[in-house]
Symmetry: C2
Subunit: 161 residues, 2 copies
DNA sequence: GCTTTTTTGTAGCCTCGACTACATTTTAGG
DNA sequence: CCTAAAATGTAGTCGAGGCTACAAAAAAGC
């Protein structure tokens, strides 16, 4: 039913190979655009849970960037409705931010588990997953869960079969 | 060289979580910085092989960006010593560019194969691999090859047969 | 309470990768 | 050959995400 597309085989309704390829790159670019936001919400949620608060300075240190950079990115989080902040009281996640954080964390773990399951050394899996995670689609994620024998991939109910 | 702190040698799991995490993010950022270059050389090599030439316009169309964007990026490829170009004669790869292209293509294929092997639908594997590939380390790649049953995954040219 | 340190925020600068608009050059058509 | 179309290149703008340097406010120390 779907395309079998292993090479230049534009079965997707007569789409030229160029368009298919362009769409692929476009998808990767789009994923990258949200990568920073995803890492921030995951980390903020982390800090809120473990420390009870998420201060810009802590966020910056954990991310390995300057505090100025972190504050600017937090500004973007706020613009996008993912976070709020109180002066000298740290950063908080909106419901949307919390939801995103939960999905991002689950995805991160699943990616690491998958890498380890296919033989990647755990330490290396952790390293690579930080970048890989942002490019793993829900479909692939579901496949990962199936491969790992998890019976409950996500709470999203996105099934592929 | 461990005399930075009073702490003994961190055993890659015992060191400050902050530093580990920061290093992880730093590695992901670094990988992303070369993602565009990698996609360009892979595509240019593709076009040179299949079409005999790699024109900026073709490159732009395949990547789904404007020709101005492509030309600017090609400029960066040239600055970095990966490509050359002749006016109205297209873009060519330097030896370094060719080498990079070969490695990038092999990695791309291996990533797709791995995804398919763990149950990701082929079409989806193609899509996701475009972004994932840039974050897969040599170590992980070797693990992928092993998992797929490939014989001796050319780890730094170490021939063992 | 006053001073010092830490934290937070701003301002200004950079590169990269995207875009549009315009200019030029080559190629193709008549 | 001369003109129209296509390809190529330039210029200028933008936002994102880095940085440093400086300014101000809060927390900590004394
Ligand atoms: Mn990440
Ligand atoms: Mn993560
Ligand atoms: Mn790619
Ligand atoms: Mn690729």
């Amino acid at each position: 039913m779907v395309t079998k597309n292993a090479m230049p085989t534009p079965l997707c309704g007569e789409l030229p190979a160029e368009a298919v390829q362009a769409a692929r790159f476009e998808k990767a670019r789009s994923a990258q655009a949200s990568a920073v936001l995803e890492d921030y919400v995951e980390l903020i949620d982390d800090l809120l849970t473990s420390q009870g608060e998420a201060r810009p300075t802590d966020i910056a240190r954990r991310l390995g960037v300057s505090h100025a950079t972190a504050i600017k990115s937090i500004g973007r989080l706020k613009r996008e409705g993912l976070a709020t902040s109180k002066l000298y009281r740290g950063v908080f996640l909106t419901p949307r931010g919390l939801d995103l954080a939960a999905r991002v964390r689950a995805r991160h773990r699943l990616v690491v588990d998958l890498l380890v399951a296919v033989g990647v050394p755990p330490h290396c899996a952790e390293l690579d997953a930080e970048g890989i995670e942002h490019h793993v689609s829900d479909t692939a994620l579901a496949a990962f869960a199936r491969f790992l024998g998890h019976e409950r991939p996500t709470d999203d109910g996105a099934e592929v079969e």
